[in-house]
Every structure is written in C-alpha cells, then in structure tokens.
Amino acid sequence: MSDYILEVKKLKKIYGLHTQNEFEALHDIDFQVKLGEFICIMGPSGSGKSTFINNISTIDMPTSGLVYINGTEIRTMSSNEIGKFRYQNLGFIFQDFNLLDTHTVYENIAMPLSLAKVSSKEIKERVQTIAQSMNIDHLLKKYPYQCSGGQKQRAAICRALIGNPKIIIADEPTGNLDSVNSQELLNILKQLNEEQKVTIIMVSHDAMIASYSSRLIYIKDGIIEQTLEKGQLTQEEYFQKIIELNSKEYQGLLKNKC
C-alpha cells in the first residue's frame, strides 16, 4: 500500500487531440501527496494549474498517465464509480462558489449527504452542526443569491466538508472574497488541515495565501518547475521564499523580453 493519498505518474493532458489545434497542457507530471498535507499550486496564468487540479481530482480525465487517489486509479473507474468516489473522498471549493441558486443554502450543503444516502434525520443534524461551526446557521433557509460573497463561500465550504472528505480541492477559493473573508477562509482551511488532518490542494496566485501551505508546487508551461517545502520555516520566512520564487520568474521573463 502506498504512503500517498494522491499519486500522479507521467500525467499528460492534450487538448484537441488529433486535430489541427492539438495542445499539450501538461507534460508527463509526477506528483505525490501525503495524508494531511496542505499543498498550494502556483504559477503564471495559462501555466496549467487548473488543468492539473482538474485532472487529479476526476473533474477531467488525463490523456495518459496514472492518477491514484487513496490507492484507486481513477481511469479504471466507471462513470458511476467516479461519481460515488467523488462524494465519498473529495470536497471542492471554487472561486465562483458553485452553489445552486435553485436550492436553499441548507439544500446545497445537504446534497453530498443525499448522494451518500444518509438518513434525513442525520442530514438535518449534520447540516445544522456544520452551519453553526461556520456561523451561517441563520442563512440555511435563504437562497445563495440572497447571501454575500463571504457567506456563499462559507456555505460552499460546508458543502465541501459535510461528507468528511479525505481531500479538499480548492481552485482560487479566495478569488471572489475581500481580505477579511479571505483571511477567515484560510484560517478555516488551516484549522481543518491541522486538527482533522484533511489533505488540502489549493490553487492560488497570491503569495500570502500560498504561505499557509506546507508545500508549494510551482507549475510553468505544463511542468512542475519548482517545489518549496515549508519545513521548519516560519510563515513569514516561507512567504519571503515564495516571493523570491515568483520574482525570479518575473525577472526571467523581463530578461527574455530585453
């Protein structure tokens, strides 16, 4: 049995395969995540961050290569198994919240439990508990369009967490939030990671946000160009290192231009 909760071998993603517009977005990526890690994926726009995160989380299927989540290779699963696997193992948080405007906040949060066929009574209890912990229990009867950005994101986190997923995938989760709500979200993620050992894989552009992670993966032009481990560094030192990494990249770009 592998030590990794997520293992990626020779991951390749080609868009428009066998067409004139064929484009290789990811080139033979190898990547491993241990249980309880907090990983941040950074990189310039168009570097393949979202493609990478989508391909390692069953949202998209790789062109070639292997992706093992919790020991299961995702491409060997049928679409039915993938659906089941998704609500049992993964929780998603996105920049645009991805809440259903047709359903109330309560119903949105309860959805993964409906999929898992949890009893109505237990659904009620669990939704209430998680909503209280995120301080949105007073919003449960409201629709997402009646809530603010921060409230929506908290509802999205509740939905992502209610099924007790092993991995949380967050694609630019603070993208639509102000600084206060961003900070609050990061504290929640950090707490989940430290106290409940939930593995977090997060895409972000922001060095400050990346400094909350335990490991940073820098992707450029479809390959992992650098990896930074937080190790024993303080958050401030780690933040400085991330800044340096980013500025080196930009300096390189400027030199090439000159």
């Binding site: 679409s79 359903h103 309860a110 409906s114």
Partner: protein
C-alpha cells in the same frame, strides 16, 4: 452589420430556428384572425366596429401572439448577452447594438412571414370545411388582402418594441452582468394587510381556488358568473402556488426525500420553475376561461362560435409555446448548475433522469392544474347543455396536445444544451 447579424443567426441556428418558427406561427394565426375578423360574416372594422365580442376575441388573440413573440425574443436574446457585452467592450454604441439586434429579428421576420401567410392560406379551406360540416354554415372565408397588411404592421410593431426592450436590457445591465449572464432574482408578492399564519392563508387560498369550481355547476350557463368565479379562483391559485405548493415541495426536499439525491435535485429545479411559471399558468387558464365565456356568449352565431373555437385552439398553442420559451430561457442558465452538481458527485445518468423528471413534472403540473379548472368548467357547460361532448373532447385535445409537444421539445432542448458542448 448585416453580415455579422447573419453570422450570429448561423452561429446560433437552433435558437434562431425556434424564433423563426414563432414568427411563422404567430404571423399565420394573426393572418387567419384578421381574415376571419375582417370577413363580412364577422365584420370587425376596429373603427366603429359592429361586433364587440369578435373585436374582443381578435384583440385577445393578437395580444397573446405579441406576448409569445416577446417570450421568444427574450429566449433568443438572453443567450446573446455575452456577445452584446463584447461589442460594448469593443466600443460599440447602443445604436449599433440596437441595429445589430434589429437586423437579426428583421431577417428572421422577413423569412418567416411568407411561410406564415402560406400556411394560413392552406388553413382557409379547412376552416371553410369546418364551417360547412360542423356548424352547418353556408358562409365561406375568403382572403382579405388588408389582413396581410394588418399582420405585417402588428409584427413590425412587435419587432421594434422587442428591439427597444432588448436595448433597454443592454443599457440597464452593466457589461459585467451581461458578460456573466447574472440574473437578479426579484420576488414580488402582495402582502396581506394583517398578519396571518401560513395555515390560515393556505385554507383561504384553497377555498378561493376550489370554491368557484362548485359554483360553476350552479351558474355555468352565465358567462359573466364564470368570469367572476374564475377571477376569484385564479387569485386562489396564485396564493396556493406560493403558500401550498412551494411549502409542500420544501417539505419533500428537506424531509421526505432528503436522502434521495435525484429527487432533491429535480424537485428543487421544479420549485424554481413553478415560481417562474406562475404567471404563465394563470394566463393559460384565464385565456381558456375567457374564450369559453366568449364561446357561450356567441352560441347560435356560427361565425363567432368558429372564431371562439379557433381562438381557443390558437391561444393554447401560443401559450404552450410561451411556457416552452420561458423554460428554455431558464434552461440556458442551468448549464453551470449541472456542471456544479457533476462536481458534487451526480453522474451523467443521474443528470439525465433529473432533466426528464423535472420537465415531466413541470408540464404535468401545468397541465393538471389547468385541466383541473378547465375540465370543471367544461363539466358545468355540459350539464347546462351548452356544449356537446365532441366539441368538449376536441377542446380538451387542443389543450393537451400543444402542451405535450412543447414538453417533448423542452426535454430535447434541455438534454442537448446540458450534454452538448456546441450549443
């Protein structure tokens, strides 16, 4: 501008086809109506008119035709919001946007009107046949050339009206709103002057909805009573949707079926659809009742009776189309929702079931609620010997069939939109 308008029609062919088909049908119905109304047998002149009931029927049908074009336009333009935003970002003026939309509707209209009128020409012998055989009338319907003119003027007016509304939509919405196709959900309800518990409200609305049905059987021979009772019934229905149907759906989603993921999803969508369709359902029933009242008033006057029967059929077709267009406009924003539920863990098969059940439940709800009312009125009319059983059957079929066909079309469009990338 003309070139890009043509390209836009080509790029969005399936929507343009729906829009064109609406123009064809509405121009056909309008033309038929103007022909019937202008004929010497009916004698509508609109100026110093000789026949109030026929004028009223014609105006009602033309009005419904215009409402349907408005819905079709909404359906056609809403998906173009991103395109409009790009044009505005690139420096396009509102006048250019207006012309761009006007060209598109103008082209579709020009392509539709000959077909509409040709179809109407083909219908005239059928109407004459019906007049002779079923109503024993010696009167025959001939082509009135001023009907073409009236139809064209009305539709042209409608196109300009829609273009200005579209322009208003683009002008009021920010570029960001157009770009992301965000919708503002504004709920409007008339508050009670005093506080009332939900249970009391539910009872009041149920009595208002069902009570008139009993009264129809006592006063079913009086068109004015039917209209009055129907108004009360429709206020009751409006309240019942908000205070009975929606709470029931809430209970089903949150309690009874909370652990059945397909039901949780489609009942939530259905709840949203019913709230959105509330006015359409009322309009569908009210129009049918109005035309039944007109029919009763015009018994023993074959041409007017014919006009009322055709109006009933035409309005059912048009209002079913309006339901379909309204649902289709809503469906456009569903792609993102289905994308979200897929991420949560809903499989493709689940999504197909959700679509099927949502459409089936919605159309069944509309059909059942409307028929519940209309069938009782039919029953009352039959008891009072005002309508024969064959005519009743024909009218029921003419009510059910368009709704059924629109339901099938909605289902196909919905599936294609969610599961095909190119739409």
């Amino acid at each position: 501008m003309l070139k890009s308008a043509l390209r836009s029609i080509k790029d969005d062919f399936s929507r343009a086809l729906f829009y064109w088909l609406t123009f064809v049908l509405t121009s056909m119905f309008m033309f038929l109506f103007f022909n019937l109304s202008y004929s010497d047998m009916v004698g509508v002149t609109f100026i110093n008119n000789r026949n109030d009931m026929a004028t009223f029927t014609t105006v009602l049908v033309i009005g419904i035709c215009m409402i349907v074009i408005f819905f079709a336009n909404d359906f056609y333009v809403k998906k173009k919001s991103k395109e409009l935003a790009v044009r505005l970002v690139c420096g396009g003026t509102y006048l250019q946007i207006a012309l761009y939309l006007l060209f598109q509707t103008g082209i579709l209209f020009l392509l539709a009107i000959p077909f509409g009128i040709a179809l109407a020409f083909l219908c005239i012998p059928i109407i004459n046949y019906v007049l002779t055989i079923f109503l024993n009338s010696q009167s025959q319907l001939y082509i009135q050339w001023n009907a073409i003119l009236s139809t064209t003027i009305i539709i042209l007016f409608e196109i300009f009206w829609c273009t200005f509304l579209n322009l208003g939509y683009a002008y009021r919405s920010s570029i960001k709103t157009l770009m992301t196709d965000e919708k503002t959900n504004i709920s409007f309800s008339i508050p009670f002057p005093f506080k009332m518990s939900l249970k009391v409200k539910q009872r009041i609305y149920m009595i208002m909805f069902i009570g008139p049905l009993i009264l129809f059987y006592f006063n079913g021979n009086d068109p004015k009573s039917i209209l009055f009772f129907s108004i009360v019934g429709m206020i009751g229905l409006y309240g019942c949707i908000d205070d009975v149907v929606i709470p029931v759906l809430n209970y089903l989603i949150r309690d009874k079926y909370a652990n059945q993921h397909i039901k949780v999803a489609y009942l939530g969508f259905l709840r949203n659809d019913i709230l959105m369709m509330k006015k359409n359902i009322i309009l569908l029933i009210v129009s049918a009742i109005l035309l039944l009242a007109i029919l009763i008033s015009s018994l023993n006057q074959p041409m007017e009776e014919m006009l009322a029967i055709i109006s009933f059929i035409v309005i059912n077709i048009l209002l079913s189309l309006a339901v379909m267009f309204k649902l289709s406009t809503e469906i456009v924003s569903r792609k993102k929702i289905f994308h979200s539920i897929e991420r949560i863990g809903y499989m493709h098969q689940d999504q197909k079931k959700i679509i099927k059940k949502e459409v089936l439940s919605l159309y069944s709800f509309i059909g059942c609620v409307s028929l519940f009312y209309i069938l009782n009125i039919f029953g009352a009319l039959y008891i009072h010997h005002l309508l024969n059983i064959y005519l009743l059957m024909c009218m029921i079929v003419s009510f059910v069939v368009p709704l059924l066909l629109c339901g099938i079309a909605s289902q196909v469009y919905y599936q294609r939109l969610i599961f095909r990338e190119d739409l």
